[in-house]
Amino acid sequence: MSPPNQEEKITADTFLRGLWEENPVFVMLLGMCPVLAVTNSAINALAMGLATTFVLLCSSSLVSLFRKLIPKQVRIATYIVIIATFVTIVDYSIQAISLDLYNALGAFIQLIVVNCIILGRAEAYASKQRLSATIVNGLGMGVGFTIALLCLGSVREILGAGSLFGFPLFAENFQPWVVMILPPGGFFVLGGWLLLFNWYRQYRERKLMEQQGASARGS
C-alpha cells in the first residue's frame, strides 16, 4: 500500500493488478455474497459484474474528486451515501431495462451498497489518488470482478443446466447436475477454483526453486 499523499504513476500495472495479482474474488476474497448468490447462470453473473463495475467506477471517481473536501472523521459515512446513490440509479435502470433480470437478481442489486470491494477501493485507493489513476484502477478491479463472476457462472450453468448464456450445449440425453445451480454448488465451484489457483501457485514456486537450484549447482 502506498503511503498517503504520494500519488502513483499510471502504468499497465495499475489496471492489471485488479485482474490477477489483487483479484478481488480469487485473491482477496472480498464481496463474496453476490459472487456466490447470483452466479447460477452466466447472464446473471455478467449483469451483476457490470452493475458492480459501474458503481465502483462512479463512486470512486466521485470520492477521488472530493478527496480534499471530505473531512476525515465522517469519510466512511460520506462514502456510503455516495455509493448508495449510485446503487439506487443502477437499481432503477435495471428495473427499466429488463424486469426479468431484475427479478432474477432480486435484492442483490441493492446489496451492492454493502459490497466490501467498493468501500475498500474508496477507502484504500480513491481517497489518496488522483482521478485518472482511480478510474484506471477501478476499471481493472471491476473487470477482474466480472471475470471472476463469469468463471463461476459459466461453470455452474454448464454443469447444472447444460447450457451457456441460455444456449443448450449438449444433446437431449444430457443429465444436468442440478446441485450445481443450487446454493451448495456455489460453494463447491468457488472452492474448486481456489484449489486450482493454489495448485498453480505452488507449481510455479516449485519450478522457480528448481531453476534456482539448477543454476546454483551449475555455477
Binding site: 439506487t88 451498497v113 456455489g186 463447491f188 484449489l195
Partner: protein, 196 residues
C-alpha cells in the same frame, strides 16, 4: 402451517432459507470469524441483536417513507439509519452494561453494514411484513446465522487436527466445507419453505 404465521416465518428464516447457507448473505463474517467456537458464538449473539435493532428501525423508516411517498430514498435511509441506530445502542450499552459491551462490543461496528443486516431490512420490506412478522423474521434470521456460524466453527476446530493436502489449505477447504453444510441444510426444504 400458514405461510404468514409467526412460527413459519421464524423457521423459514432460520433453517429452510438459512441466510448464510441458502441465501448467501453475510458470507464475509461466516468465513472470517468461524475459526473459534467462542468467538463465533459471541459474534452470532451480536448479529441477532443488531438484526433486531435494524429490523425495528427499518420498519419505522419504511412507514415514514411510504407516508411521504419518497421510496426511492429507501436504500440511503436504511443504510444511514441502521448504522446510526447501532452506534447509539453501542454507546448506551457501554454506559449501562460494560460486561455485555466487552463480549459483543468489538463485533458491532464490523457487522453494521454487513449484507445480512441490510438483507433483513430489504426482505421484510419486499414481503410487506407487519411489525410482529418483522420481529419474528429478524429473530429467525439471526438464529439461523448463529446456528450456521457455530456449526462451521465446530467443524473447523475438528479440521485443524486433520491431515489435509497442502494445496487445499485455507479458504478453499473452508468453502468446500460450507458447501457440504449447505447441502445438509437443503434437507430442510422439505419443511415447505418458498424460495426467496
Amino acid at each position: 402451517m400458514a405461510a404468514d404465521s409467526l412460527t413459519f416465518i421464524f423457521l423459514n428464516a432460520a433453517v429452510i432459507n438459512n441466510f448464510v447457507l441458502a441465501l448467501f448473505l453475510g458470507i464475509c463474517p461466516f468465513l472470517g470469524v468461524s475459526a473459534k467456537r467462542d468467538t463465533a458464538w459471541n459474534m452470532g449473539l451480536a448479529v441477532i441483536f443488531v438484526m433486531l435493532v435494524s429490523s425495528v428501525s427499518a420498519y419505522a423508516i419504511n412507514w415514514l417513507l411510504v407516508r411521504f411517498d419518497i421510496q426511492f430514498l429507501r436504500l440511503i435511509c436504511y443504510i444511514a439509519v441502521i448504522a446510526s441506530a447501532v452506534q447509539l445502542v453501542e454507546m448506551a450499552m457501554k454506559k449501562f452494561s460494560p460486561a455485555l459491551f466487552r463480549a459483543l462490543g468489538i463485533f458491532l461496528p464490523l457487522i453494521t453494514t454487513n449484507c445480512a443486516i441490510l438483507g433483513v431490512a430489504l426482505f421484510q420490506t419486499f414481503r410487506d411484513y407487519d411489525f410482529l412478522q418483522c420481529l419474528a423474521f429478524s429473530l429467525g434470521a439471526g438464529v439461523g446465522f448463529t446456528l450456521a456460524l457455530t456449526l462451521m466453527a465446530g467443524l473447523r476446530e475438528r479440521l485443524e487436527l486433520a491431515n489435509v493436502p497442502n494445496v487445499s489449505q485455507g479458504a478453499a477447504l473452508t468453502l468446500m466445507l460450507a458447501g457440504l453444510l449447505s447441502l445438509a441444510f437443503m434437507g430442510f426444504a422439505g419443511l415447505g419453505g418458498q424460495h426467496g
